[in-house]
């Protein structure tokens, strides 16, 4: 199976008070549980990224809960108000509990 790899986009620098856009994408097939393996005809069990959490300096700021209706390679964009320099941590949770993370620093001048 394809390696699961997150990508995130955070501006390196921002002005205090500026609202920046954060984007995150992860490679994941998002198996709905309704699909079938074309070769074997067997049902592919549900396996999706069901949760995405963004935190800034340890504080959760945004959470997305995904259902099987979210597309493969789930993409999410959201705003954040820059007030001080710090680090974002992004966490994706897969059915079954596996977690994938990424982090990015942002400097606020």
């Amino acid at each position: 199976m394809a390696k699961i790899k997150p990508r995130v986009k955070v501006p390196k620098k921002a002005a205090a008070g500026e609202i920046v856009e954060i984007k995150a994408l992860i490679s994941h097939p998002m198996h709905t549980g309704r699909g079938k393996n074309k070769k074997t005809g067997k049902k592919i069990p549900r396996k999706i990224i069901n949760k995405f959490v963004a935190s800034f300096d340890g504080q959760d700021v945004f959470t997305a809960n995904f259902e099987p209706a979210v597309s493969a390679n789930p993409y999410i964009a959201f705003p954040f108000k820059a007030s001080k320099s710090g680090a974002f941590t992004f966490k994706w949770v897969e059915d079954g509990g596996a977690e994938f993370t990424a982090s990015k620093k942002m400097t606020v001048a």
């Binding site: 790899k5 990508r7 984007k23 994408l25």
Partner: protein, 275 residues
Amino acid sequence: MRLAVTITMALSLIAGAAFAKTPYHDGTAEVIKPVDKNHPLDEVVSGYNFRKAMIRDVQDDDFENPGMLVADHGEELWDTVDGSAGKSLSQVFEGCAEVPLDVVGSVYPRFNNAASKVISLEQVINMCRETAMGAKPYKWESRDMLGITAYVRMQSRGSRVNVAVDGKASAAFERGKDLYYKRVGQLDMSCAHCHEDNYGNYIRADMLSQGNINGFPTYRLKWNGVGSTHRRFRGCMKNIRAKPLPYGHEDYVALELYTAWRGNGLKVETPAYRN
């Protein structure tokens, strides 16, 4: 089979030019004159311009474009040492391709001296792996092959497709041209029926493009992933109920050369994003 019914319906449903408000004439698209005077059309347009905003917006943003995940994977492999020679593709590739890296993506398929025939980019990569790296060839439609192909093509992004079809490439070019116009399959159609005579018209809900390949490998929603030019050829042939050829077949390389030539002058857009 449902598909056959669909296609038959589709043919009767190709909407006349009077209806089709061809999107590439809205002033935002790049419509170029063919580079070669023997070109059958008087305008050449990327497939991008036949798609709706939902599709174009994603291609416009490298971050949002899921095709970039595969290209990123290719970038990692590019520098990874593999095979008995202890080399990475980045160390040997230009020698195999016989042209600089930032040009490869715009000039392949090309007559390659070492191979002494016209070969596609995938074939250069595998030739390089086998001869220069002592590594196993990649499977045509594998994530590794698609990743490397996308990564290499991306090095030519923005420059214009410029495949050579004269001299030693002319036999493959003529072969490709024959295939393009040859009616095949139960529906007795050729590529030209759709992509030359009817581009800009709808075939059911799909607006037909000129079938250019300047964005391959391409991420397709229908595939939920990235696929090669040959995968698209195979799909188009299945649609007209013709037997598709295997990946890498000499005829597909010839068809790829001919199709690339029809798009000479278009910008390389790899990895494109399509429905």
